[in-house]
Symmetry: C2
Subunit: 364 residues, 2 copies
């Protein structure tokens, strides 16, 4: 037994939990900046949040220009808005992009935008945040991570600090009801990847493993619905809850090379983040199983299936695969090998291993 | 899915975790008050903490006069010491009594002792705390509760506020190695009671239930060792971890009438707290099963046994029972029915039910 576990986010879950708990917003101050995306704001969540603000007599502005993969320019713009309105707190509504962007906005609003976002020390002085996921995947609502496009390094780079944990995460599956099926599938795969990768982290421990097992149970309970393309509210609750638990896992463990590799497919080809992980995960697990059978067996036990069954299940969700030329994959293996989450993997991974995973997963 | 889950304590677990993580103490300031009991300080924990202070160049004083069931006078004395030395933080070392007392000390040191400890509003202004359990039972290291003798009301009364959560809990089972067997057994039963009662709370939810199931798995994995009276270090790790998880449960759910009833046996007869709960728990579960079979069946599923098997297992640990006269038990049922944790039970309990539980458990 050796671990260090921290999860300071209050999780408030349930149907209509935002309106039922409107009083919880009141403690954070008089003026809120809502950070969201153009489509994220169209699922009822913004209306519920505004209802809560009105109940509490709170003022707000909405910054809804967060793009799919948030840029430094976008979070700097959000921070200018927050400073301009003297926001007391930030409310994030959306999938991973708005929720991650909101963390950077809340930080830059207090610590200033000087172009050093990827290299600076992040202090504790961050606007308090309330996060409301409208996809079931990222887990950003319970992590201290914000992942932004890093154009200088041509990848996605995460910033992280204990002060980037939101204060509250509201989980209401109704906000995910209108998602297109591919988004539902890709984000669910992202969550599966989080739980699996967390169990393979050098920082994995008894408690994060227990949360990962619980997470995978809930995520796979909706597998049939994901496969069939018809999700009930109960299915969506399972996915949203399972994704939040997977977020609790990576908040404590970080991710592994799967994420580092996936960023290449997302950055250069626009492959959705969860899909990118799902394409790579089965082959990654096979390499792990070869190099560290005992550790990887624990992952398959948590999944309740073997390597073949897991690969088949993901393949059925992913459909036809993207394929890339050999030289491209060698380049991506080199890039991914430089990512810091390589060192976070309890199974040591070389560039050659990453190439093998790329080749088996998305080789031409 | 409807719940509100909050667990802001960083849990650092493992062999020699205090010394390995001495740097974590440094963030809390220059002067620490250590709150402990006469025997709690004799298991190596105080030496490790002092080693950490010395590493960090921190000053400290030790208040080791916390009695078995802490009194208001004792926590007021501790608060005077903390103010006198201008303590920046409090380190609690011990079982439930020193850990609970430390919370009251940390609060009173900042908010003043005016005799209103059981009725005042507790603000956020509390000295930060680091808790180091030396028994595996109370879970106080991860809860916002402090339970003190309330002589005016002739019972034990809990004070509670989000600011009473410790900042860090260090779990090292070596500190529990020298405990007398009855203390190990009684505290383990207390933890079992926490996990079970948490599942029967009106505030129980998916996540607290999941933690309760995990907790019971670890606690009962050491059952054979508890029964046989020979515990390995691995057994003690299981108990310490299981007890902390059970603490996470009650931090979110509170306790039920079992605790309210048990306080009578502790306050008037000195029955150890965990033992008092264990004497009452099986009969309490039988009443619950009669009134709400579906909910109670989930508890037995989590325990992996039925009502009879659970009663037998506890009976084997408890040995010969205390017995009290009928009039005494009627009085205790009346007292327990007035305790606030009655309303916290998802299975409605009347005074007659409590009497039935007392009679079946410790009737003459």
């Amino acid at each position: 037994m050796e671990f260090n576990f921290f999860m300071p986010v209050r999780i408030v879950a349930g149907d209509n939990c935002v309106k039922k708990n409107a009083h919880l917003f009141a403690a954070f101050g008089r003026r809120a900046l809502v950070v969201t995306g153009k489509s994220s704001a169209r699922n009822g969540a913004l209306e519920d949040v505004v209802w809560a603000f009105n109940q509490n007599g709170q003022q707000y502005e909405v910054y809804d220009a967060v793009p799919q993969n948030p840029t430094v320019a976008c979070v700097e713009e959000g921070a200018r808005l927050a400073r301009g309105m003297r926001a007391d707190f930030v409310v994030a509504i959306g999938g991973g992009s708005p929720m991650d962007a909101a963390k950077a906005v809340a930080m830059l609003a207090r610590q200033g935008s000087d172009g050093s976002i990827f290299t600076r020390e992040i202090s504790a002085d961050v606007l308090p945040m309330i996060h409301i996921p409208t996809t079931a995947g990222t887990g950003s609502e319970v992590t201290p991570y914000a992942i932004l496009n890093n154009d200088e390094k041509q990848t996605k780079t995460s910033i992280s600090a204990p002060s980037l944990f939101p204060k509250i995460a509201f989980l209401d599956a109704k906000y995910t009801a209108g998602l297109p099926l591919p988004v539902t599938v890709n984000t669910a795969i992202d969550a599966i990847s989080h739980a699996v990768e967390g169990m393979l982290s050098v920082r994995a421990g008894e408690l994060s493993d227990a949360v990962a097992r619980e997470s995978l149970g809930h995520l796979f309970s909706a597998y049939g619905a994901l496969r069939g393309g018809e999700l009930t509210h109960a299915d969506r609750c399972e996915l949203l809850y399972g994704a939040a638990l997977a977020g609790v896992v990576i908040a404590n463990t970080g991710t592994t090379p799967v994420h580092g590799m996936g960023y290449c497919l997302t950055y250069f080809h626009g492959v959705p983040h969860g899909r990118a992980n799902g394409l790579l995960l089965p082959a990654f697990l096979r390499v792990c199983a070869r190099k560290d059978p005992a550790r990887t067996a624990r992952v398959f036990a948590a999944l309740g299936m073997d390597a073949d069954a897991f690969a088949d299940k993901l393949a059925a969700l992913l459909g036809s695969r993207e394929c890339y030329a050999d030289a491209t994959l060698r380049d991506y293996a080199r890039r991914a090998a430089a990512n810091k989450n390589i060192k976070n993997c309890a199974v040591p991974m070389e560039e050659a291993d990453l190439y093998e995973v790329f080749k088996a997963s998305v080789g031409a």
